[in-house]
Each structure stands twice: as structure tokens, then as C-alpha cells.
Symmetry: C2
Subunit: 147 residues, 2 copies
Amino acid sequence: MKPLLRYQGDFQWEGVPVGPYKAEGTHFRGVTRQTLLGPDAGLRCELRYFEIEPNGHSTLERHDHAHAVVIFRGAGRVLVGAEIFDVRPFDLVRIGPQTWHQFRSAPGAPLGFFCLVDCARDRPVQPTRAELGALRTDSQIAAFIRT
Amino acid sequence: MKPLLRYQGDFQWEGVPVGPYKAEGTHFRGVTRQTLLGPDAGLRCELRYFEIEPNGHSTLERHDHAHAVVIFRGAGRVLVGAEIFDVRPFDLVRIGPQTWHQFRSAPGAPLGFFCLVDCARDRPVQPTRAELGALRTDSQIAAFIRT
């Protein structure tokens, strides 16, 4: 393992490929992934850098494992549970177990963020039709979410 | 747990106290700590922000657990094993088990970095006199280290 992964500017790191956020799906838009620390790094967490192009969004989902995110670039909004927050660089977002969450970039700016998760974790799930209905009873959440 | 820890500018986060790097010791100089994610955040790693004032240094130490660091501010140099690297913002430094390491800020700049470690980890140890002697057989390391 190389001790140093040099930052190259332009939100990329030396030798780290920019890959897809998820293998497939229509429940997200304009998101890339860079794995900065994988399970081979010897920690019990992984560190990824995700970037959402302007007017894009991550998947609306929840899971048992916790997330922690440090915003790194741009601007956007985040749904965490029943709250929607404006976020900007270096804000820290903490997402507890089984908490619905979705990241949206601003119309005119990308949203880049570091995301920290346990190596051992469950798979995210998306809302059922009934769960979506329940989420949409809140008009602000209804206007925010993208599916 | 609040979902959002707002970045306040000036390398500080809302409600996060700036505390000492370690409780005591003369083996470091001018270092502060902010705990951004403690063991209560529900992840198996903790995230801390350390800052070394100009011309300061962290402890020269090693331990069984791995470290990962994202440089956030300023400039400095890092010893990892037998190598010394110049580092600048957003470089990623990976420190494997039982690897001697020390962070030094530049004479004219602080060095701020995020440090990721497992919640369950062993205590760092400093070099014995014999280990220091062995480290100092390399003239570059001898010139770099501070004890």
C-alpha cells in the first residue's frame, strides 16, 4: 500500500479511478465515485469521494449502517430523516441507522463529498410505494425527493 | 445526534471544542484536536481534525492500528516508515500497522488534517533509545524527527 495518495487538483487523486456511483439504476442522476480507502486499507471503515453534477441526486435510501459525510465541493441540499439542510463545503452530515436520506446538488453547482461507512455493512433499500406515500405527506419532503 | 455539524470557517465546527492533542507530554509541539465523529456516531471509526501550528510536530510513534489522514490546511512534511513526504491540502496519507510516523508543519504554515482511526485500537508507543538509534542511522530521518 502506497503511503501517499497525492491530490491532483480538480477533485481527483493520483491513481484513483473515477467510477460509477452504482452499477445501474434510474434512481440517481449524475453521480461518480472514487474509492480513497477500501477494505484493504486496514481500517474498519471505507472512505469514498462522491460527486454529483449540477442538478443531480443520489438515491433516496436507508440502511442499518450509519453514514458520515464531509462536504468538499459546491453546494446542495440533503434530506436526513424528516429534515432538509442546505450544505456547503466542510459541513459534516451524520446519518443514523434506518434514516431516509438523499443528496441533491444545486442547479448551478456540483456537490462533492467524502463519505465514511463501515466496511461490514448492509445493503441500502429504497422506499416502497407505501413508504414513499408516507414521506410525501410532508410537502417539503414531497417537493425535495427524486425517485 | 444532530444530523448536521456546520463548518464555521477558520477550521472549526459548530459546537466542537478545540482541545489538546494529548493530555500531557513534551514529545509534541503546538497541536490541537477536534473530535468530529466519536464512538457515539455509530461507525467503527472515529474522525478527528488535528492542527499543528507553524513549526510544530505530532508525536513520533507507532501502533498496531492503521491511520488514514486527509490533509486539509497548510503545508508540512510527514514521516511514514522510512520515507518523508511533502504534503499539501487534500493529499491522503495511509499509515500501516507498526509504522513509525510523525507529522511536522512547515516553519511558516500550520498543518491541519483529518485523521481516521478505528474506535477499537491499541495505544501508540514511542521509540525506545535503541529504536531511536536505529531510526537515526538514516541521515534524512535523523534530521527530520523530533522527540
